[in-house]
Each structure stands twice: as C-alpha cells, then as structure tokens.
Symmetry: C2
Subunit: 294 residues, 2 copies
C-alpha cells in the first residue's frame, strides 16, 4: 500500500518550527522577519491568496506589509514602489502577487525586485543561481516538493525521475533541481511536455513521477509502474453537482487507479498545495537570516 504524503501535516510541522525560531529571535531581541506583498487590482483569487500569505505571517510571528494598488497604477509607479521596498531595511522579502495588469511588464517588475528579497525565487539571478547549484531562493512549489521528499526520506539518488510539464514555475525548475548533485537530487531526469511523443512510454520508466501539466486525471494507472513515487502538482476545479460548492478539486493524477501501485503518493488536495505557503515562509526566514546572500 502506498504511503500517502501528508502535505497538510508537513506544512503545519514546518510552520511550528518557524514559529519556534521566531520566538527565539524575539527572546534574543533579534530582527523579526518581515514580508511585504504587493497586490494590484481586485482579482478575487489574488486577494484570497495574498490574504492567506498575510495570515500565515501573523501565525508564525512574522511582520507583514500588504501594499495594495489600483489597476490603473502605471508601470513606472509600480517599479518605484518595488524600489522603495528594496530600499527599506526593515523588509526582508517581497512578493508581487500575479497576475498584474497587462500594461505592466511582469518581467520588468520581477527584474526590479532585489535578488536578496526575491522570496518567490522568480528573479533570473535566483533561477540562474539554482541552475548553477549556488545558494538561491527556490520558488514555492518546487521548494515544497523538495521538502516533502526530504521529510519523507524518499531516496532520489540514481532514480529515474519523469516530470510531465515544462512550466517556468514547476516542471522546468524541478528538472534542474532533481538533476543536481545534492539530496534531494542526483536523479536521472526526463522532462516531458506537450511535444513528447509518448508520455506513457516515459512515465512507465519513472521511479519518481512529477505530474505538473494541469490536466485533471491525466496520469492513469496504466502509465505507472509498481512502486513508483508519484507527486501530483495539478489542481483543477471540475464541476461536481454532488458538492455544495458545485465543483471538486482534481489533481493531474487519477488517484484511485494510481495510488494502489505507488510506494508514495501525494493526494489532491492536501499534498503539494499546502506546502507552497510553508515554502514562502521558509524563504522569508532565509531572507531575514541572510542565509542565501551573505
């Protein structure tokens, strides 16, 4: 039977550990970690996400600053706001909640964030440092996956890891991270995507499979070998009239078919999802401790 990787529990463990560290910092009169978030406009989902992040900070004892701007803010004004936070010595980490309005370049905003404060790990310097195996902020989802592998002591060295999906925020960085000479890492990594001829041919070889393509229940039982570790990054709302909300959440993995074949599997919800928020808190702590950039 598969061991079900409990992302909810793991993320709560991590929050508790962070909280204890913050308490120690407070006792010693040190500087309290401080996360700033920029939110532009009134997108409902974005508001929810940012509010969670602010609450997460409160819960572990971080300071947080939420800067809200109207949809009409100009690119230049927003860049100036980023610059002001870059220069604010009390703020350790800065995230800009995406999406931002079309008239503002995501790349320009990302590039403007001081790498030392880029706790989302999206700045090219942090991506490049990751690829060069230098200390860097690792973005929330990949970092969350690494933490799950670590906490469940899953062997990765020499394993064949098959990743489905080459997005900038999950598939591509995971392929870099798991190839590195490190733990978790030292995998033989195969990165599959929309142009891959036979994804099934690849996944059947996978000792570890990371499904991150965003297609509900894509990975079926016949695509997975016995004993595989399956990490499900997908989370899609599908209509479900039996639910009060009218929808259900589905991962990229057909859980009922795949789970019986696995050694480890992450559920959806409650697997990778909750880890992303814990990762952001960890990165903010790393920023406050100046662990990445000395």
């Amino acid at each position: 039977m598969a061991i079900i990787i409990d992302g909810k529990k793991t993320s709560e463990d991590i929050r508790l550990e962070i909280k204890e560290k913050v308490n120690k910092i407070k006792e010693q009169g040190g500087k309290i970690p401080h996360l700033a978030a920029i939110l532009v406009g009134n997108d409902g989902a974005s508001e929810t996400y940012v509010n969670f992040k602010v609450k997460d900070c409160e819960q572990v004892g971080f300071k947080s600053t939420l800067k809200r701007f109207k949809n009409t803010i100009s690119e230049k004004e927003l860049l100036n706001e980023v610059e002001a936070i870059n220069n604010d010595p009390d703020i350790d980490g800065l995230i800009v909640q995406l999406p931002i309005p079309d008239h503002i370049s995501v790349q320009k905003v990302t590039d403007m964030i001081k790498p030392e404060k880029d706790v989302d790990g999206f700045h090219p310097i942090n991506v490049g440092r990751m690829a060069k195996s230098l200390p860097s902020y690792i973005s929330a989802t990949p970092y969350g996956i690494l933490l799950l592998i670590e906490r469940y002591k899953i062997e990765t060295s020499g394993k064949h890891c098959v990743i489905i999906g080459r997005s900038d925020i999950v598939g591509s960085p995971m392929s870099i991270l798991l190839s590195r000479k490190a733990y978790p890492g030292n995998c033989t990594v195969t990165l599959c995507h929309s142009r891959t001829k036979s994804i099934k041919e690849m996944t059947l070889q996978g000792d570890i499979i990371i499904a991150a393509l965003g297609r509900p229940e894509f990975l079926t039982g016949d695509m997975v070998k016995e004993g595989a570790v399956v990490i499900d990054v997908g989370i899609t709302r599908v209509p479900d009239p039996t639910k009060k909300s009218g929808f259900a959440l589905r991962g990229d993995v057909k859980y009922d078919e795949v789970a019986p074949k696995c050694s480890y599997i992450t559920p959806v919800p409650g697997g990778v999802g909750p880890m992303t928020r814990a990762s952001l808190l960890l990165n903010t702590l790393l920023a406050a401790e100046k662990s990445i950039y000395k």
Copy 2:
C-alpha cells in the same frame, strides 16, 4: 551512411558572415564590436586559448583588448579591473579566461561582470534568463551545438534527446535549451550523469545523443540505436606513439562503431570544438548590437 557534421566548415561560414556584417558596420561608420579578455598568470593552455580568441577577433574585424595580470594580483584588484571594463563604453564583451588562481573566487569575478557584457554567458543572470526562455547570452559550447543543429536543419521537435554529463558548461544548459519551446528545442530531454543506473538503457532510446562527460570513447556502438543523431562534446588527449606529438585527440564517442548507425554525427576533432570560438564571436556581435539587453 551518417552525414558528418562539419564544425570546421560551419564555423568558417559563420566567421565569414560576421566579417561581412562588420564590414557593413564599418561602411556605415558604426561602432566596431570590441571584445576584452582578461588573462591571469602564465598557464600555457590558457595563453593559447586567449591568443586564439584575440586572433579570431582580428580575423573578423573586431577590436580586441587583452589584459594580462600576474598570478599575484589580488581578488580586489581583479574585481576592480572587471569593474573598469564594465564602465568602458567602447568595450562590448568581456571574458575572463579560466582557471584563475585559487585565491580569487571565480564566482565573485563572474558575478562582477556586467550581464550585458557577459559574452561567455556564465553570469547567473544569463543562465537564469536562458532557463526562463528570455533573451540571453548562451555559453560557447551549448551555443555551438545549437548552431550545428540549426545549420544542418536537424529536426528536434518531439525527439528524445539523451544527454550524458551534467556539467554547468555543457550538459546542464543543453538540457534546459533543448527542452524549451523553440527551435532547436521541443525535445523530450533525459539528463544522465555519474549516478545514472544504466546509461545504456537511456542512450538506446535517444533520437539525439549528446555525449559530454569527458571519458574517451565512452559511447559505444551497442549503446546507440539506428538513425540517431550523435553530438560528441568530449575532447581528451590520449597517448599515441604513432603520432609525432605523442598523443591523439579522442571524443566521448567510439566513432568507428557509432558512426555507421547514425543519421548525423560530429567528428572529433572538427565537430563541436571549432564552433565554440565562432559562438564567442557571435555573442560579441550580439553585445555590440545590444540585441540581448535592449
């Protein structure tokens, strides 16, 4: 029979094209591309390499500046020299010939080079921009391989590319580049290395194989399927009493066995090797044209 990819001829074609472009720039009174190279110490191989690069510049009509320093130069002094070149508006590209003495941090020196002038493509910003599919300088060997694939119009989309070796300068960037949504690219990429359990099992699946591990004649005929494209990045001196020099150059591919099975193959010498110098010239031209960083 395999088509032999002629890197010598291709690199000469590219040099001619660059020379023509420089002639046009001169006619129009534009700014002549200018490469600066820093060489520390008296390592024989390094001197040879740098001298080639300077000669290459002369040949295509670039300006070049060679700055030589003694082995005793301090880290701070070297960083100041880099800074001076960063601030010199006439110099478009800067390379620091490696290795440098142990008392100087390669990372610090690399990080100090202005990304806009980093024509070796080693700065984390350029690596990160590459990983994010943003315009970037691609380092010489990977760029040379892409150019060969392009010039020989080798189909890459949907192909399974198996890379052996995860070095920062070849294997790892190649895995990123050939996974991208681009041409050359859109490959399903498998990155193998010293921890891979069965490299042969992987290479037998490869439509394209890139051997970049630095072990002479590692890839043998039984590891390659019929019709594969084989790119040999290795170049190792092995003793050879029949040669006047006392040594011969060997690639990572056992050419006599592998070539008959291939659709395309690069020889050693005369395959990837000559392309790296052409790549550096192209990057310097891109720098002068401000094509990467607008």
